[in-house]
Amino acid sequence: MIVRILNEGQWHLTDDAVRGLNSFDDAVEQAVASGDQEQLTKALHTLLDRIRTTGTRLPDDSLEDSDLILPDADSTLEEMRQLLSESEEGLIPG
């Protein structure tokens, strides 16, 4: 499975490694729901560290689709909300 961390690049993860990520996703979701920036930053850092350590980085010139896209480690609540409420414009140019 290929995972993209926004602003960083793509990693290849085994299925096992991906299964271990579910709990982190919940932590991120909770943080966004409760509007807790500190918790969000912490949850994102833990999640992304895990991906960086368990995954293999894809070379820059690989043209592969990601199965999962994760926000930047320093994302603010505002940016997360914006990301989630993105409509058709803006995100993908072209």
Binding site: V28, E29, D60, D61, E64, P71, L83, L84, L91, G94
Partner: protein, 300 residues
Amino acid sequence: MSGILQRISMIFRAKTDKALDKLEDPRQTLDYSYQRQLELLQKVRRGVADVATSRKRIELQANQLNTQADKLTMQAQRALEVGREDLAREALTRRSGIQQQLSDLQVQHAQLQSEEEKLTRASQRLQAKVDAFRTRKETIKATYSAAEAQTRINEAFSGISEEMGDVGLAIQRAEDKTAQMQARAGAIDELLASGALEDPTGTAKDDITLELEQLASTSDVENELARMKASLGPGSAAAPQAIEGQQASPGAQQPPGQAPQPPSQAAPPPSLNAQTPQEYQAPPKQDQEAPPAQPQGDLR
């Protein structure tokens, strides 16, 4: 994984699909997309340059603030030397205000630097992917049948679209942050220009400097006076002589900068020294009478 991260992934995919649907001719898809990639690459490079400019501006401001802080430290020291603890305290208080501004700038500087690094990396990634896409595009055009090409094109296109979306977000974020920084940098520029940073109360223009200058000029005058007295030699009676008669001791001609220039020196025109007033006035009279006489003498 069906939570928030999945949602983010779906947003990206939905956009890619939508963009693909707009274009039906495979060739057009490839060329159009490549064109967009090059444009985006240009935009990222401009973004890097913009962030670098903002960063440099902050560095300049930090330098200016540092100079101010140093100046205030020196002022405090001078104030203490002349026994004005109140002035020294005031100077140090202002310096601590400036140091707060400085540490604020350092945070901003670190943020901009990290944005710059991220964008630089993004630019490299996108460049690599654009190159890969161009190669892939040529291969697809040359090798595959129309039906097969469509699948290959979709693969290549969605791979790079995702990167473009990511980079697009990074640029947007960098632009937002740079705009914020520029607004704050502008405020600091104004503060620096108005001199208000030197005087947070805004009531006077750097009164510490004024007061210290006054103190300094008073003591300078005293010092100068003492020096002049010393240079005039032991007898204080020498002074009047030196002022009236210009040919006094050479030492007396040294301090003319401070000493009031004796009126006797200013009154006679520069030709002066040996000439008496009479001798001095005489030549013009002769000149006036001479012209009529000379031509006659010449002719005869």
